[in-house]
Subunit: 338 residues, 2 copies
Amino acid sequence: MKQTHILLGHGSGGRLSHELIRNLFVRHFHNPLLEQQGDAALIDVNSKKLAFTTDSFVVDPLFFPGGDIGKLAVAGTVNDLAVSGAVPKYLSAGFIIEEGFPLEMLEKVVISMAAEAQKAGVLIVTGDTKVVEKGKCDKLFINTAGVGEMIEGAENIAAGSTIEAGDKILINGSVGDHGMAVMGARNQLNISAGILSDCACLNQLTEMAIKQTNAIKFMRDATRGGLGTVMAELCEGRNFGIQLFEENIPMKEGVRGMCELLGFDPLYVANEGKVVVVVSPDAAEHLLKLFRAHPLGKEAVIIGEITSAHAGRTWLETSIGGSRIVDMPAGEQLPRIC
Amino acid sequence: MKQTHILLGHGSGGRLSHELIRNLFVRHFHNPLLEQQGDAALIDVNSKKLAFTTDSFVVDPLFFPGGDIGKLAVAGTVNDLAVSGAVPKYLSAGFIIEEGFPLEMLEKVVISMAAEAQKAGVLIVTGDTKVVEKGKCDKLFINTAGVGEMIEGAENIAAGSTIEAGDKILINGSVGDHGMAVMGARNQLNISAGILSDCACLNQLTEMAIKQTNAIKFMRDATRGGLGTVMAELCEGRNFGIQLFEENIPMKEGVRGMCELLGFDPLYVANEGKVVVVVSPDAAEHLLKLFRAHPLGKEAVIIGEITSAHAGRTWLETSIGGSRIVDMPAGEQLPRIC
């Protein structure tokens, strides 16, 4: 069915988002850089390669266990640059604030942004503030854009253009933490007690991985749409398939329980500190060791591999021995988690 | 009085905005690049100087005579780069859309952005879409960030650090058009008939001016807060004053009439295609000729000069022979014009 109006699903990162991006934004803004459709664009400035990216944050509620909109706004954009093979350097920050919003709360958000930027080694160098009348936005929205310097030899990572059958797929830890932490905070659910968002800047982890292995073929942070969407998107239209092993995919007990109770598929629940990496098979064990020695990679595991079979499709071998396709979700299972 | 909550005036570009920026954003994000507080930050990437800037657009209504939120979102960021002495190259575009927004209208906005980007010679290379529930934002907000290459020798233009007494002040045309066009469209006022927003990308004009005179000391686009705010801001805390001549300041009859009727001071009404330039006295006439030969500078005039008297203050010699101080406005006379 052809949509005539914007649905929540158009912002999901799933099928509807992809259609909107392809049929509207890419079609009209058409240029080869946009058509790369990575998490960041690789741009030429003064004949040097830079990565450039943007994200808006509309998370509800603004504060949740493990983070807040400010931390998220920094980490989200830092991570988009990082997984594109860049060293993040500079951020912009655009605030849209509802009239009547408490200054004290704004300051908490700003302090959180500053702390996260410092941790990641990036500078917030330019900004903008707009205020709209009470009722015309929901408290606070933040946009960040970021510029990073490409790591030499990392130009193919964002597109994954060198991926081939046999490559291994790694993740740096458990899935679904961020989505369930926000869900719990939004609805004040007791069952979410103890679940913290994994929101974190991954740039030091990714830079180390690229430089010390020289064998990274693709990286993507599994945010909106979760691990499942990243995998489905990666192999769509390509000459390889993906095989995932469910029992290898790390998941916290609390997250698993909450997903079961509420009917969410944890494969599609958002993360904000998880990176999925495709690496040459001969370098996979080395990468695993490197990851596990880093605070943000302690629970890293190999969760799957690239196959020559079922090209364009992601298959999940389930814990109980079955097999199912991991498709891109059509709509939105959990709006406004970032 | 110390504010505890965000007011509309915090987004005005006037006194309250400045306090918020200084006391909150600059204080917590503190770094020398942010403290330049130009329209764009000058950043070092791969040992080259770039300009980097961001703006969010929340204009109401989305479409107005002479433009729309899309055209504005491109021109606004292009102009911030241009007046900083850069050649704008790449833009990002972040959309926050209200659930239920008509796709057809979104497409009109996107087409308008694409056309304006093409005219300015910039590429929209990366983007993001968020959708919020109906009632949680007002139709559509757009953030653009931009990256430009600094023109050699233009590093001091954004800060105006070489300004001295005797320098001339130019503007490329009439003031107040944008604010009154939006005001008229918002309230469906008959008196605004024929008033068009001046929304336009100024980068070709500014690049030509910098390169062909080598005498430009400062440029700023007079957007939120209008010409008056730009002037008050420029001399604040500096060792020079500003003298403006009211009878030289170009204004369309319709804008003058509408301002009189509604009680607006046109000096503080927003423009979206007007640049204020400080230039060495010996190059002023040459610049005027260059401007007048360009479609966006046909009505350029010298409107004032830098003085050694009344340092830190802008004085306006009025048409009737009086004199008054042009101060920075405290609050907001016209919210959501950009």
